[in-house]
Subunit: 138 residues, 3 copies
Amino acid sequence: MIRNTTLTVPTRGKGLYPFTRQATEWLAKQDLANGVLTVFIQHTSCSLVIQENADPDVTLDLRDFFERLVPEEGEAFRHTVEGPDDMTSHIRSALTHTSLSIPVISSRLTLGIWQGLYVFEHRSHPHERRVVLQLIGE
Amino acid sequence: MIRNTTLTVPTRGKGLYPFTRQATEWLAKQDLANGVLTVFIQHTSCSLVIQENADPDVTLDLRDFFERLVPEEGEAFRHTVEGPDDMTSHIRSALTHTSLSIPVISSRLTLGIWQGLYVFEHRSHPHERRVVLQLIGE
Amino acid sequence: MIRNTTLTVPTRGKGLYPFTRQATEWLAKQDLANGVLTVFIQHTSCSLVIQENADPDVTLDLRDFFERLVPEEGEAFRHTVEGPDDMTSHIRSALTHTSLSIPVISSRLTLGIWQGLYVFEHRSHPHERRVVLQLIGE
């Protein structure tokens, strides 16, 4: 059996935005106890990461590291039509994740105790990001 | 139900090679309308990325950025048997993707409007790259 | 049908630890010949990679490159509670993989001939790492 939904995750500039609660709430309503949850983000200027959910400093350090790893200044990009955070966003997206697959056992995501799901926004301006969730199982 | 195929994607040096059309054409012929498409590349010196499909400059900027991020010159690699683009290819592969999972709804990949599937070739010489597609669904 | 297990992979400091054999041995005992294997690591300070399984130098070069790409020295991290290899581990994890999806055909992983599964340990001290395997198929 297959169940699908699309979450909307609003973002307000670069950084990590948690959506574990939205995903687990949706999961709890499904009539499938076991299977795999596919998480897919329908954009190329933001991405998905699973990161520590305990200390918010982790998400800030991660954001800042990517700012240094893929800097907006000093790179000679061809694709700059939407500004200095355009091509850097595509690169940061390629370096992180567009899809994740997470086993579901007894209606629970098998996330480790410190793991949370995040949209990693790479653009400076606010966006509404679309994340497809699909549960396949029995 | 499960359907499998293996695509061959020819490459001619470093860069991104689209295969969205090959994947969607195969998908259209299957008798499964809903499920998950697993995309798996059987190599460790090239990889998979989902990137913007509108402006070809994005793929060139991405290629060039990885050339700077994982440079062939100035790194003291042990594994150099196949030349200066050998170990760099393995690293660039680890930094991008070997597998992708994409929900399929009503016989369509749930790619965003700007998203395309690419083989990211990291070697300088031409290759025939093997990409396994597997659709599981109903 | 769905089958699950959790592997424990012991690590002894930074580097790559193979677990292809553990995965294929488990797979051989299942009564499902075709499907998808989801591999999920329940941590944010180590990760998964598929890399070349022939020359051990590849794994050493990969480890050393990440040491340079995400250095412990000279970065002003906020999150340092567990030492200098704490935040770097989270970043190296985000740059590699928390989940992998691998098609299984006729009871075999469709890995390429040179591909092996590895836990990439980013912490300096020994750990017991948990890797969930889930096979969905028929």
